[in-house]
């Protein structure tokens, strides 16, 4: 059951420069686990053991997974998962 994952510039060093890759899983967490199997090291850029990093956003189709069931959100065949690191900073 493939899910299509859109990879941001910063993480393309893990995916041999691919901006869109496939992964398998029935939940977002399983998809991330599968990404880690295919592209070792990528998971720690997205999450720690339990949860998504605060400044990483994951969208399933157009929905922020934080407003769904977070990492337990169920994914369907051919869903689109978009990884988008926050753009942030400032003087402090």
């Amino acid at each position: 059951m493939p899910v299509f994952v859109s990879v941001p510039t910063l993480l393309r060093s893990y995916t041999q420069d691919s901006k869109r890759v496939q992964a398998q899983g029935t939940t977002v967490r399983e998809v991330v686990d599968d990404l880690e199997r295919r592209y070792p090291g990528i998971r720690s850029r997205l999450m720690d053991v339990q949860q998504l990093h605060r400044f990483v956003n994951l969208y399933l189709n157009d929905e922020d997974i934080r407003f769904l069931d977070n990492l337990d959100t169920v994914v369907a065949d051919r869903d689109e998962l978009t990884i988008l690191p926050a753009v942030a900073g400032g003087a402090r």
Binding site: V87, G90, R92
Partner: protein
Amino acid sequence: MLIISRALLDAAMTHAQQQHPLEACGVMPGRQGTDRPSRWVPMVNHAGSQTFFQFEPREQLRVWREMDAQQEEPVVIYHSHTASDAYPSRADIDFANEPHTHYLILSTASGCEYPVRSYRIANGQVIEESLRIVDVDTRAA
């Protein structure tokens, strides 16, 4: 070196002045590989803060998808510092996640001697670059 049209720079600076004392932020997309920003997209500062900015996540998703569809990339990402120099803070360096982007910082602090400065930021390293402001957009069609 960042080459930028006066019109784009003026738009960003006006945005920064209008938002002052809150930090303003935005992006200037350009065609992939050209290294020249071609349009200006002001973004909502989701943090609504005088010392921090964050692109509003859903707006960012929309703009990033739009860029993708038009074979563009974020050539420039800008934000303002409203009470300090136009130099990257620790947070600016930690959050910089686009290795090909020119990070433009605009200072609206009163008496700031150099209010517009541009940087490359990658892997914790900051490299200031020169800035060339062009009056007429001379890009090849």
